[in-house]
């Protein structure tokens, strides 16, 4: 028998199929396709199946994958259970709308799969806890799509804090985006009912999934679901899942949350939520610094110590106090953060070592965002006990820690 050298992994750079991590995808849209594009470039990974409630999305992903691999092998599913039942699939890429993120990730863990999941990773505090519990319970690898944790400019800022160059940490700033698009508190309204497409084109019931029922409108499906409370956690969760996450990671506060949350400003913006950790460190979630005078770009964050400060974002430029400038060095282009991130995922799956954006870390950073979101809705300063997992001064806020999921879904 003649066996091609590539099959044995003997060609330069080739990976034997038995050493490849086999992926499936659940709900791959525009952002998911970006992730998938990077994953398809990785020789250690192989993508074999996609599941979506939208026919056009299934076809588009299959076409993208088959074109890349030069075959017709990518299988399409409209039922997540069918994809998850495949024993040859090791891991799944989840890039649905937010409402599906936690339920699907937990289902995947229960089926023994490792997971890459886009952010925001949860719709409530309760989902965040359930997510962390499930991945610890099933001993599965989960990596949130918080790729900036693997971005060189963000890493350098963390390193400068850890080295002591910035002095004692005083305040972290997380930019939570332009409120003109996604204000902190989204709408609870519904759009007018429109004619449902045929089920084979769009399965509206499955599209809604765990979210409460509402009549169909194509705007939701086109991406307009954001800014509706039943599908979205508003600007704080949307952008905080990017930048609050960075603050928690950079300050090595991944295992806790602030204990105070004070909303400032109007829902139309500009607004802030002033938070404080038990150790006295401040966390300011603000929407007034995005692409501002420092030109650090979107998803920026800032670290202030008593000796100096740094701020960086997607432009990869690091702005700093004058005394820190000699310590700065050139960083990578922003696009490499996702490449590094997916590389870390593949290493984690092989070694079973937790990635930086683990389920527990993501759960904690999302709980910070949920607490700030709830404080903004309540319009008052809230105090929070991270160990007891409860607000200590507002019963209504405590009742907002979870959302009922539409039947039959649960976490």
């Amino acid at each position: 028998m003649i066996v091609r050298s590539a099959v044995l992994g003997q060609r330069a750079g080739a990976v034997a199929p038995s050493d490849q991590i086999v992926f499936g995808g659940l709900g791959i849209g525009a952002r998911g396709a970006h992730d998938l594009g990077k994953l398809l470039d990785m020789r250690q990974a192989r993508f074999v199946a996609v599941c979506d409630v939208r026919n056009e999305r299934r076809e588009a992903v299959k076409s993208m994958v088959d074109r890349k691999y030069g075959n017709h092998d990518c299988r399409m599913y409209d039922d997540q259970y069918a994809l998850l039942a495949r024993k040859d699939i090791d891991a799944v890429l989840i890039a649905t709308g937010d409402r599906w993120h936690t339920p699907l990730a937990i289902l995947a863990a229960q089926h023994g799969k490792d997971v890459y999941c886009e952010k925001p990773c949860s719709m409530s505090m309760e989902e965040s806890w359930a997510l962390a519990d499930a991945f610890r319970r099933y001993n599965r690898i989960y990596q949130a799509g918080c790729q900036r944790r693997n971005g060189a400019n963000f890493e350098l800022c963390k390193e400068l804090l850890k080295s002591g160059a910035l002095g004692r940490l005083q305040t972290l700033y997380a930019n939570v985006g332009p409120s003109v698009n996604w204000p902190p508190v989204p709408s609870r309204d519904w759009l007018a009912a429109e004619q449902l497409p045929a089920r084979q084109i769009l399965d509206w019931d499955r599209w809604l999934g765990p979210a409460p029922w509402r009549p169909y409108h194509p705007e939701y499906v086109r991406g307009g679901w954001r800014n509706f409370y039943d599908f979205h956690g508003g600007g704080i969760l949307e952008w905080g899942s990017h930048t609050v996450d960075l603050c928690q990671w950079a300050a090595e506060l991944d295992d806790t949350q602030p204990v105070e949350y004070e909303p400032v400003g109007a829902n139309t913006g500009p607004y802030q939520v002033l938070a404080k950790y038990a150790n006295g460190v401040n966390l300011v979630m603000r929407d007034d610094g995005w692409d501002g005078s420092l030109n650090t770009g979107s998803c920026s964050f800032r670290i202030e110590g008593d000796l100096g400060w740094v701020e960086t974002g997607d432009n990869t430029v690091i702005a700093s106090s004058p005394n820190i400038k000699p310590l700065l060095r050139p960083t990578e282009s922003a696009g490499l953060a996702l490449v590094n991130h997916i590389g870390e995922l593949l290493r984690s799956i092989k070694t079973r070592q937790l990635p930086r954006a683990s389920a527990a870390a993501a759960a904690n950073s999302h709980i910070v965002c949920h607490a700030a979101f709830i404080a903004f809705q309540r319009g008052r300063k809230l105090t929070w006990d991270p160990a007891k997992r409860e607000f200590t001064n507002d019963d209504i806020a405590n009742r907002m820690r979870s959302r009922a999921l539409r039947e039959p879904w649960r976490v």
Partner: protein, 232 residues
């Protein structure tokens, strides 16, 4: 030290505005109504589906126990049942548990699954015997939900029912029962019932248990046996 620069307010690029909701689908004043006014919406035969949906959600935030009968009346409603549970789940009063248990005997299919999920979330131990029976019913989705709820409720009674069900179920239901066992074991550990938790983990580590749960149970044993804080 003095901060030398602070960013100026950003110039924000605005996205195209979405369509405006019609007047009948705007929450408006419902957002600030008190419990009595919200209950009037739920009990008003002329109120629209949208108004009732929003009233349920706001009642859940208020935690108004006087709304329980009105919320319970919506549990059989195909579109509003999940909204009714949205209202019931956060109400810290036994009447909410009673309403959900009552729903278990009245509902079928997905609506029953939803009620069972809420019971599991509230960890209502009084529902245990009824949930245990449902594991062996004809509807596999109901059976799996019942198993999951038992696991979430936890305790020795649930542990016993889960161990029995491990030997009497198969396929996806057995997978759900095993998953429930893992959750139940964690509940037992949290309550200091270590030996019982380890016994349950051992049951879940045997051949015939779906592999993800079996490996998780083994991990649970290792985690517990190697924990520094465990009693010795």
């Amino acid at each position: 030290m003095q901060q030398t620069t602070q960013p100026r307010p950003a110039i924000q690029a605005e996205k195209p505005k979405p369509p405006l909701p019609p007047a009948g689908f705007q929450e408006g004043g419902i957002a600030t109504m008190d419990a009595a006014a919200l209950i009037r919406i739920l009990t008003d035969a002329g109120a629209r589906e949208f108004q009732k949906a929003k009233a349920c959600q706001r009642i859940g935030e208020l935690g108004a126990k006087e709304a329980v009968p009105a919320l319970a009346a919506l549990l059989p409603h195909e579109r509003l049942s999940s909204y009714a549970r949205y209202g019931l789940e956060p109400i810290a009063d036994p009447s909410a548990d009673e309403a959900l248990r009552s729903g278990m005997s009245r509902l079928k299919g997905n609506l029953l699954v939803g009620v069972i999920n809420s019971i599991g979330k509230r960890r209502d131990a009084m529902a245990g015997p009824a949930l245990a029976r449902l594991i062996y019913g004809a509807d596999p989705d109901v059976a799996r939900a019942a198993a999951a709820a038992l696991g979430s409720i936890g305790g020795l009674s649930s542990m016993k029912e889960i161990q029995i069900a491990l030997s009497k179920t198969g396929g996806m239901t057995k997978m759900a029962v095993a998953g429930a066992g893992l959750v139940c074991a964690e509940r037992l550990l949290a309550e200091g019932q270590r030996e019982q938790a380890l016994t349950l983990y051992a049951s879940l580590s045997t051949a015939g248990i779906p592999q993800p749960a079996r490996l998780a149970a083994m991990s649970g044993i290792i985690r517990e046996e190697t924990s520094i804080g465990r009693p010795r």
